[in-house]
């Protein structure tokens, strides 16, 4: 009897992503799904949910197991704000609805994972900050923030999590490398465990800068 591992992806689709960046994001994200699908362990437990955020927030892929996942095209408007706060708010509702809590009768899910990808900063900062408080109460197993491109600001992501990855560009190569790294962090639990204590993230690939 196996537990599920839920992974939530919050992807920035604000106006600034228009053009090459959104292509690169589509490419990278589909590559991630395909990488995960070549890992039998991930196939056995991983469930994925995708939320996109610009001025609107959509759960474009409701929680689904990796095998049933159908590829989607992530689209973005030509311009508009970045409602990161609203996206986190929706995430809280989704997690509350999706997550099977353990009981004495039934095995619950593993602690969920969250990946937030943005190329800018929240346009709805007050909402963003109240949502962070709610997120922290939800007890995620891992939260990774990714700030990509020249205009991305890491400081806001750092309010959400200590694990912030900074990407200088949003081109196809950089995003592919990033998603490869995401894939290996998700797969970490099925690898050999060291004699030390806790599960750690794999070292990021060379071209990324982790902000501490």
């Amino acid at each position: 009897m196996t537990r599920r591992l839920l992974a939530y992806f919050l992807l920035d689709t604000s106006g600034s992503m228009h053009g090459e960046p959104i292509q690169a994001l589509n490419n990278g994200f589909n590559g991630l799904i395909s990488m995960l699908r070549s890992d039998p362990q991930a196939m056995d437990s991983l469930h994925v949910s995708v939320i996109t955020f610009d001025k609107e927030v959509k759960n474009i892929v409701p929680l689904t197991d990796l095998a049933s996942f159908q590829p989607v095209e992530i689209k973005c408007p030509e311009s508009g704000p970045t409602h990161t706060g609203q996206a986190l708010d929706m995430l809280c509702d989704l997690v509350k609805a999706d997550l099977v809590k353990g009981s004495t009768e039934r095995k619950g899910d593993w602690k969920p994972l969250l990946f937030v990808f943005t190329d800018g900063k929240p346009s709805d900062l007050p909402l963003y900050r109240t949502a962070i408080t709610k997120i922290k109460a939800l007890d995620f197993g891992m939260i990774v923030g990714c700030a990509a491109g020249p205009k991305a600001e890491t400081s806001f992501l750092k309010e959400l999590t200590n694990e912030v990855v900074r990407l200088d560009t949003t081109d196809v190569n950089t995003l592919t490398t990033f998603f490869k790294w995401v894939s290996s962090s998700i797969e970490m639990g099925s690898k050999s465990q060291g004699t030390g204590e806790n599960m750690v993230l794999p070292p990021p690939p060379g071209e990324l800068i982790i902000v501490v």
Partner: protein, 503 residues
């Protein structure tokens, strides 16, 4: 893209070439580069090794490799069982090992039925131990040409047992045996143990890993919170390998985990996991303690067949393996000294292969099943009953003069089943050291003109002891209930006692 040459650190007169295209294949701790002729790989540890680690690698590629080369069936172990590193190199302060390339049969030819996503990918064991991938309702089930049949997994398990047996004989412990470190091919019925550079020499080099989830022994998890220097801390060793081996065999044959049942030990998933695999570990099919039974209503829809021990209990593996599963998961789960050793598993698997019957349903996915000692045998996988009379041959050995004693070894007869030298004589042991001559069949069983017969191909001294008829080469004898057939009159020669069931 450039070709790099690196000298051996064992013998500087040897050197190796690899192609550096800037993006090596990345394993857990190593970066892997291919040689231009694709005969070997150079696998560099990403972080520099310390003195002990280097010394260990050095011993693995010299001392232990030589040990295998000088031992029995060296080619068999080096080609069919292990991908054993055979030299070490160094470049820019990083240590690399030279490992023979994986055989092409260990890469998916087709992979998923629905797409090419994993075509060309490595056939790590997990693909074949999870029930979903073989369920046709699952969106990404594995193509049926990849799965083999139930007999495939016996040969795979036998190969893994032999690999572990040999390591243990050399005084080594694998320390991280799991489905990630064993490549399998159900089609050609083969298995290769890989990633052998982490081997542990008990007392000399401490293990660097505690293992992989699902395979870590309970005592290792139970003491995981203690400091490495604490005398109570238990790290991987040969006995924990034997836990991992038992779990592997169970999972290959039954496609579920022996300890993952319905019991919740803690509401926190991680604590629960630690207890369920560690101090509270309990066999889901324990004969008396039913605490950890699988809750079948909570199984995922694609796990309902293999995931349900009531439908497919471990006892379908027959008496010899069932006994060992009980020792591994009941008596020895928390008492490592009681766990069956690799050689016992190998023997039990081999004896069980002699109990196997083909399923008469041509569309049965497993195709083979173990005779269940009942008068009305049926395939446990598809439910098809056996049709027609079924001869059972029990092996006896000469105790003294006219006194014959049972070997505790039974051979189930089916049409075109072969008889081998290891059935005929106690002096021939069925193992990896057998020469080609000893692997040739010496006779066969057939259902011929509504009678079961045994045809003698190359045995001298075969005789029907009931009729006192000699059975020369190229002659046959009819099998009836009560038949006593002497297979060889030489020392160690055995006798077959025939019972016909399902009449």
């Amino acid at each position: 893209m450039k070709t790099v040459t690196v000298p051996s650190i064992i013998d500087p007169s040897r050197s190796y070439k690899y192609i550096d295209n800037g993006s090596p294949k990345q394993g857990g701790v190593k970066d892997v580069y291919f040689s231009p002729d694709k005969k070997y790989v150079v696998a560099f540890f990403r972080t520099p090794l310390d003195y002990n680690q280097k010394d260990r690698i050095r011993r693995i590629v010299t001392l232990y490799l030589d040990n295998i080369k000088k031992g029995n069936a060296a080619d068999y172990f080096l080609q069919d069982i292990y991908r054993w590193p055979y030299d070490a190199v160094e470049r820019d302060g990083k240590t690399g090992v030279i490992v023979p390339i994986y055989d092409s049969r260990f890469f998916f030819r087709k992979g998923y039925g629905a797409n090419d996503n994993i075509k060309g990918g490595e056939k790590v064991g997990k693909w074949f131990t999870a029930p979903s991938f073989r369920n046709k309702q699952y969106p990404l089930f594995l193509d049926s040409t990849e799965l083999g049949d139930w007999l495939s997994y016996f040969q795979i398990a036998i190969s893994i047992c032999r690999g572990v047996k040999k390591m243990h004989q050399m005084g080594l412990a694998h320390s991280d045996l799991s489905y990630n470190n064993v490549l399998v091919d159900p089609v050609t019925r083969s298995a290769n143990i890989i990633d052998l550079d982490g081997l542990v020499v008990p007392g000399l080099f401490p293990p660097e890993v505690i293992g992989t989830a699902d395979f870590i022994a309970p005592e290792v998890l139970r003491t995981k919170h203690l400091k490495l220097s604490d005398t109570g801390r238990i790290l991987p060793n040969q006995r924990t390998d034997l836990h991992a081996l038992a779990v592997l065999i169970y999972m290959y044959l039954l496609r579920r985990h022996p300890l993952r049942g319905g019991k919740i030990w803690d509401l926190d998933a991680e604590k629960d996991e630690l207890m369920a695999m560690g101090e509270k570990a309990l066999f889901i099919e324990h004969s008396s303690d039913k605490t950890n039974r699988v809750k079948t209503d909570q199984l995922r829809k694609w796990d309902v067949i293999w995931g349900n021990p009531e439908k497919i209990p471990y006892t379908i593996t027959g008496p010899y393996l069932s006994e060992l599963f009980r020792r591994a998961f009941i008596d020895g789960l928390h008492n490592p000294m009681l766990r069956p050793i690799a050689n016992e598993w190998e023997t039990a698997l081999i004896k069980t292969v002699d109990l196997i019957q083909p399923c008469s349903n041509p569309s049965c996915e497993e195709k083979w099943y173990v005779f269940d000692n009942t008068a009305k045998p049926a395939c446990p996988f598809c439910g098809t009953p056996h049709k027609g009379p079924l001869p059972v041959a029990d092996l006896y050995y000469k105790f003294k003069d006219d006194l014959w004693k049972p070997e505790g070894h039974r051979l189930m007869v089916y049409h075109n089943q072969h008889l081998f030298k290891w059935h005929v004589s106690r002096k021939i042991i069925r193992n990896e050291s057998l020469g080609a001559e000893d692997k040739k069949p010496v006779g066969y069983f057939a259902y011929h003109q509504h009678k079961w017969v045994l045809v003698n191909q190359s045995l001298d001294g075969m005789k029907d002891l009931v009729t006192q008829q000699e059975i020369p080469r190229n002659a046959m004898v009819e099998l009836t209930s009560g038949s006593k057939i002497l297979l060889s009159d030489k020392e160690g020669g055995r006798l077959l006692y025939i019972t016909i069931t399902n009449q």
